[in-house]
Symmetry: C2
Subunit: 211 residues, 2 copies
C-alpha cells in the first residue's frame, strides 16, 4: 500500500500544480500554495520534486502529455477516418469545433504558453526545445493535410496555421472576459457554433462586397 499512496500523493500534488501554474504562472505560484491546494505538507512537495523549477517542468510535461492525448481524441477521428466523402463545410466545421472544444477542455497549455512566451528566459528556452518546435511543425502539417483535402484555403500553410490557431485560441482565451461583458456564455455550444459558422463563412470565401 505504500507505493500506491506515494503515487496518489505525488499525483495529487501534480494536479494541484497544473491548476495553479496555469492560473497564476510560475512567479505567482508558491510551493506552499501548491501544497495547500493538494492538502499535503510543503515539505512533501519538495521531497517529491526537489526544486520549484523541477516541479514546474514536470507540471508542464504533464499538461502537454494530457494535451497530446486529448488532441488525437478531438482531431484524429474526425479528420482521418473520414477522408473521402462528406460535405466539405461539415468537415471544416468539425475541425474548427474540434479545435475550440479541445482548447476549452484543455485550457492549461494555452495559459502556460501565453504566460511564458512573453518572458524570455530559461523556462521559455526549455519549452521551445521540448515542445514548441514539434508543435509548430505538427500544426503546419495538419494545415497542409487539410489543404490537400480541400478543407482549408490554399494560402501559405504557415500563415494559415497562425490565423487558424490565433483566431480559435483567442476566442477561448478571452471567452470568460467576453462572457462577462456581453452577458452570454461564450463556452456554450450555441455561441461556439455561431462563431464557427461565421469563421467558416470566411474560410469558404465570404466576399468583402456582394457587388
Amino acid at each position: 500500500m505504500k507505493k500506491d499512496d506515494q503515487q496518489n500523493n505525488r499525483e495529487s500534488i501534480l494536479a494541484a500544480a497544473v491548476e495553479l501554474f496555469a492560473k497564476q504562472g510560475f512567479n505567482g505560484t508558491s510551493i506552499a500554495a501548491v501544497a495547500k491546494q493538494a492538502e499535503q505538507s510543503k515539505a512533501l512537495v519538495q521531497y517529491h520534486f526537489e526544486t520549484k523549477e523541477r516541479l514546474w517542468k514536470e507540471t508542464v510535461s504533464h499538461i502537454w502529455q494530457q494535451r497530446n492525448n486529448s488532441m488525437t481524441h478531438y482531431l484524429g477521428e474526425d479528420l482521418l477516418t473520414a477522408p473521402a466523402g462528406k460535405d466539405h463545410s461539415q468537415m471544416v466545421r468539425q475541425l474548427c469545433k474540434g479545435l475550440i472544444q479541445f482548447t476549452i477542455a484543455n485550457p492549461e497549455w494555452v495559459k502556460i504558453l501565453y504566460q511564458e512566451s512573453v518572458i524570455p528566459g530559461p523556462r521559455l528556452d526549455w519549452m521551445i526545445e521540448t515542445f514548441l518546435k514539434t508543435d509548430l511543425q505538427q500544426g503546419v502539417d495538419l494545415v497542409k493535410l487539410a489543404q490537400s483535402l480541400n478543407l482549408l484555403p490554399s494560402i501559405d500553410p504557415m500563415s494559415m496555421q497562425t490565423i487558424l490557431i490565433g483566431a480559435l485560441i483567442h476566442y477561448v482565451s478571452i471567452a470568460p472576459l467576453t462572457s462577462r461583458i456581453l452577458g452570454r456564455d461564450m463556452f456554450s455550444d450555441k455561441q461556439i457554433d455561431h462563431f464557427v459558422d461565421n469563421f467558416i463563412l470566411l474560410l469558404e470565401g465570404a466576399p468583402p462586397q456582394r457587388a
Copy 2:
C-alpha cells in the same frame, strides 16, 4: 527645478514599471526591481505610488493611454481620410498592417491583457470595467465601419473582430518564438507583408478548392 525633477523621477519609475509589469506580470515584478530598473530608491517608488497595486493600476492606465494615442496614429489616418476611392485590397492591407505594426510598436497592452485575462480576480475586474468593455465595443465598431466600406467580409461583426484581432495578435505574440524556431525575423517588414498578403487572400475569399 523641483517640479521638473519630480516629474522626471516619477516618469522614469513609470517607464520602468511598464517594461517590467508587461514582461514579468504583477507577481513576477517586485517594487525593488522597478526601483532598480529606474535607478531610483525603493522608498521613492513607494512614496510616489503608495502601494504596489496602485503602481500597477497607474502603469496599466499609462500603457492604455499610450496605446490609444498610438492607435489613432496607426489606424485613424488610413481608414478615415481615404474613405472613398482607392483599391479595396490596398485599404484592407493598410488596416491589417496597421494593426500588426501598431501591436509591435505597443506590445505591452497585449502582454498585460493575456497575462491578466487568465487570472480571475480584482485586477481583471478593474481592467474590464476601466478599459476592456470600451475596447470591445470600439473593436466591433471598427469592424462595422470597415464592413460598411466593403473592406471586410460581411459576417457577424463580433466574430469578425475576434478572428481579426486573434489572428493578428497571435502573430505578434508568438513572433519571437516563431522567429527563433524558424530562424527568420517575423517582425521584419518582409515577413509581416507575407503574412498580411496571405491573410488578405483569405479575407478576399481564397476558396478551399479551385475546382
